[in-house]
Amino acid sequence: VRFFGEVARWFLDPAHWEGTGGIPNRLLEHLAMSGSAVLAAAAIALPVAVVLGHYRKGGALAINVSNIGRAIPSFAILVIAVQLVGIGSRPAFIALLALAIPPILTNTYVGLSEIDPEMREAARGLGMNELEQLFKVEIPLAIPLIMAGVRTSAVQVVATATLAAQVAWGGLGRYIIDGFSQGDNVQIFAGAVVVSVLATLVERGLGLVQLLVTPAGVRHARRRTAKAQRSDIVVGT
């Protein structure tokens, strides 16, 4: 109980709320780094996966990318990035980008390639050209899976950005890593709480975004087929 009192006092200490080492700045660093990595990953992975998924080409590649991504430890990616470009924010960004691509790529590919062929035919029957087909039918139908990929990616990136404190970058991991080296349990715990809350909020927030950007028609169709929804739950392979 005394320990939690100390943690509470740590949070109430104004010194922890200002300057480079303050919570607001660390939080901002963490969010800016994670956000830019996920956005950059989406900018790279989305077009590639949309094209591959539309033509249903390179499926093995798209699936293997995520399997390989899972097999390489994120900590190893981070440390290898340091060897390539030195310490600091650059290796952090490169490692996070590399981690963020696979889930987006695979989910987008699966989302587009598994669209019912009858839907495509119907779109063609309505006189849509290929681009209209893609943007008015295929992408809207794939939105739930695409967003699920972005969400997975974002959660992983926020987590690994925490590790980046070990390679001399800032972010919220600093409290934990510095706490370890100083043997300061209060700081370790407080830092862990902030990171956990941030990760949970990011996950929930993107869940909300996912609901908002899912077209109403797709949402209803999904609700009716409860089975399809359950199959989302199966993680991977």
């Binding site: 097999a71 987590a159 934990i176 956990s196 996950e203």
Partner: protein
Amino acid sequence: MAGLSARLAFVASVQDPWLRWDWVGRHVNVIWEATTEHVILTVLAVGIGLLISWPVALIAWRHPRIRGPVFGFTGTLYVIPSLALFALLVPFLGLSVMTAEIGLVSYTLLILVRNIVVGLDSVPPEVREAAQGMGYDRRHQLLGVELPLALPAIMAGVRIATVTTIGLVTVTALIGEGGLGRLILQGLINDFRTPLVVGAALSVFLAVGADLGLALTQRLIAPWSRGRAS
């Protein structure tokens, strides 16, 4: 201070080759120990994860009303960054194997529980009725009919949990455990590439090997799942 020394070391590392076989030759014992530790940490985590997940998943499967809370709780654990989860435990359990294992087990729960429930759900009602018609009681129905049919989904979960855990074990190097993560961390701290390359490569080999091994086991113990669990 750490930043400066790392930067100086980085300058020195420009000439450092990615892999020095002479180092590997002189450190076979260290590498072997790290690999064994990695395997033990992983097997313990997935094993304990399965022991916890099986009853939890069974209860969640039989009582759909508690599925929401079960998935919610395991999902929350899964979302917490690994370093933060370890850090939350360190003040109480110290830098110990216990801290590492509790963290690692926590990450397997969501994957395992979900896949067990989904696997059991996927058993066709006709099959269940046929089993009841043949006079199977609940226990025999579960072990003799539903479990075998759910096995592909369950094994898919075990494979993902195992591969994920092998990756996460490297992070436990930061709390004094780590298996192959020790080598990676050592490479980072001493700015010497060979141990980190060895650690990373062996970790990937372990993950790929475990995945293939489990896939093969699945084929052997459940030949009927061939081709279904893609």
